[in-house]
Symmetry: C2
Subunit: 442 residues, 2 copies
């Protein structure tokens, strides 16, 4: 893709309305564009990142045996009256009347609708467990949307739901998501800590938030540093293995301010391990038993007896993760972003010095582009006539991890190649391809 | 995937509310579930098909150089007032007031929003052409939604938009989509005819519908049979090549009833080539010049002069295509469906005779499953204790193209293998893998 033909509208300066770094960077590099308060369009650069995040989330759900479905955005109010949440939800629910004057709403979450699908499809405990997820747009009519896509109104979310016959089985399902979330965030190069959390409007009796550290986070967190060392790499989805993982995490004190208690913190955490900082919630899991299945009559036959199924729900903020990664990785002072290889919109940029009456560097760039493409490396060529230092600056902002610079005296055995935040090296195209591929497969 | 653990809720009989075969089959095989009038959830079987269709549509857009973005579902009414369509659109537009009493709407189409994005991003003709698409949910508040997902309210659509400096360039963009659509439908094993069409509420002066033949179609069509022989396989996206393709199609009379004229039909089409039948619209492309760019002031600088950009829009009904493929392929009399390999939810089913106290066939099935999986073949094992003839019947309905039957006297050199609509053959697992793989790569 040539930069001059791409749809990446870059702003010269940070827009004044943006208060946090993800909002600034996303507007400045043309990743998103606001269409109305708290509602955004995703332009090609931001879209590519979000799609890669979505695909990682999908693969990790599939890996633990969750089946993908897709529920609609618009729901009938009837099922929300059955559960009792229609009145409780308040003004954050976007309520709609259709042309027949029926009460509809834009789904802020899907416990009711998925319970309705379950109860009309599954009759016997032999079909349990059922784990279902979908990745769909949600709407919450925030009074004061802010921070760009971090607290917006229309947002993209993965929400999953589990249905089990007993508390014990339901806990096993819960733990599968616990592991799956650790793996999901790890693949995005994020270190997310699971923290015991309040259950809030979803209800229930067990809940964890997954929080990544970031100075600009909205949640205050209090944690034992040793929690970062807990190893989940050998955990399988067997019951005992998952229980052990949960135990290993729960050894260490780790809470958000809602649950914070100074005395317990000091009692349980030796001073040198105490960490008090801020974080961003990127995932939230809940176990709530029969809170929805009972009022909505979602039961299965269990040897002739009717049993209400035990449910949990499990959310990951897909669009929010784009912002969260920026908050965690963007170096504001040096105006340098570096996208993790797993989600980067392009793997490499090619930055030729382009002179008005001399196409030779652009031709070299195009040849290199073709070689990289053949190796499944995604490349953006900056074919504009900006000077090379402003091109380098621009691409540090865009965060594409690798840069190839094509200047005077091009030598194909010694091509200038830079990984963002590293010094340039001078190597051949084959070595460049090898380096990028090894980072991609990592 | 074991059938007993899958979420494929099959109905014993056709639901009486479904009047056409796609609606019947989709409900009966648990592909979709209605959540309210004209609004559906997609269950795993239907979801897998729709996702494959979406991916084909995406790849063919990318191939002709269209860039993917994603606009939100909820739009502000302001831009629709600028274009003048807010009042025109009528009751099919789902109008919404948010908590601040702002007038919003659920986008039925995106000409206004994409024009707003364009005008605030692109300033010079040098950045043209710009071709943008997104695949997003739309809502049209049909008075009488019917025929399942064929005429529903919330539907999934690919809509693309082109921006050019002149009519000539715009026509070149139009023709790229023309070719892209032929390729898109061909990959789904559909023979879609481009037909000159009215422009309707989108407006403009040039338009084609892409129609597939189906007895249950909503559009009457009148066509010259020779149009099916027009070959687009050697067309490139160069101007001359595309113009030639358009000419080759336009040689033959081919219209829907809106444009039908008996005298012209008889004058232009020799009797033996006349075909009068029904069809389903699966794509629609429009060229409308400055219809939106002028009222919305979307212009670029062209050597110091301000020029309104020339626009077109291009839609493919992604969710609708699932139904359209069924209408084209489902043999209602024999209750047999066969999904095209490019969109099938699974490539192959394994149907073992399962006896209560004997797991041996299920073990054989699982071994074969693992061999197929290693070769990237997607498989569904029917591990239930239904008898084999009802399993075969069920899988003819599900439409998975290949079946492996495991009965008495299993012989690994002579496994019973059936392609739907063909007689069974008896071959080894290696030969089965070879056969399926060759169909997949076709």
């Amino acid at each position: 893709m040539y930069f001059s033909k791409s749809f990446i509208p870059i702003l010269k300066n940070n827009p004044t309305e943006a208060k946090i770094k993800s909002h600034q960077l996303m507007l400045r590099t043309g990743m998103i564009k606001q269409s109305s308060a708290g509602i955004y369009s995703w332009l090609p650069l931001g879209f590519r990142i979000m799609k890669k995040i979505e695909q990682i989330v999908r693969e990790e759900q599939n890996r633990v045996g969750v089946q993908e479905i897709l529920m609609p955005t618009i729901q009938s109010s009837d099922i929300w009256k059955e559960s009792g949440r229609y009145d409780d939800y308040g003004e954050e629910m976007l309520r709609i009347k259709d042309r027949q004057n029926r009460e509809m709403l834009y789904g802020p979450t899907n416990e009711e609708l998925v319970t309705e699908i379950f109860r009309s499809s599954i009759k016997s405990y032999k079909s349990l467990p059922q784990l279902l997820y979908h990745i769909q747009w949600k709407f919450r009519d925030e009074l004061r949307p802010r921070f760009g896509i971090m607290r917006c109104r229309e947002f993209y979310m993965k929400d999953a739901y589990s249905f089990d016959i007993s508390d014990e089985e339901a806990l096993h399902s819960y733990n599968k998501f616990f592991l799956s979330y650790l793996n999901t965030f790890k693949r995005m190069d994020l270190s997310a800590i699971p923290m015991a959390a309040d259950t809030g409007p979803i209800g229930g009796n067990l809940s964890h938030e997954f929080i990544i550290l970031a100075d600009t986070g909205e949640s205050k967190i209090f944690t034992d540093k040793r929690i970062f060392e807990v190893d989940s790499s050998k955990t399988t989805i067997e019951k005992n293995s998952l229980n052990k993982l949960r135990e290993n995490f729960e050894k260490y004190y780790s809470v958000t301010d809602e649950k914070f208690n100074q005395i317990e913190f000091e009692k349980n955490v030796p001073e040198k391990y105490r960490l008090q900082t801020k974080g961003i919630e990127v995932g939230h899991i809940f176990y709530f038993g029969d809170k929805y299945s009972k009022p909505m009559n979602a039961s299965v036959d269990y040897n002739g007896k009717k049993e209400f199924v035990k449910m949990g729900s499990y959310g990951v903020g897909v669009s929010r993760l784009v912002g969260a990664i920026i908050e965690a990785k963007y170096d504001e002072k040096n105006e340098t972003m570096k996208w993790p290889m797993s989600v980067t919109p392009y793997d490499c940029s090619i930055l030729p010095i382009v002179n008005k009456n001399d196409n030779s560097n652009l031709e070299i760039a195009t040849n290199i582009y073709n070689s990289l493409k053949k190796n499944n490396i995604d490349v953006l060529i900056d074919d504009t006539d900006e000077n090379i230092s402003s091109k380098i600056k621009k691409f540090k902002l865009l965060g594409i991890p690798f840069q190839i610079i094509i200047g005077k005296n091009f030598n194909e055995q010694k091509i200038e190649f830079t990984e963002i935040n590293h010094d340039p090296i001078f190597i051949s195209i084959d070595e460049i391809i090898k380096k990028i591929k090894s980072k991609k497969s990592h």
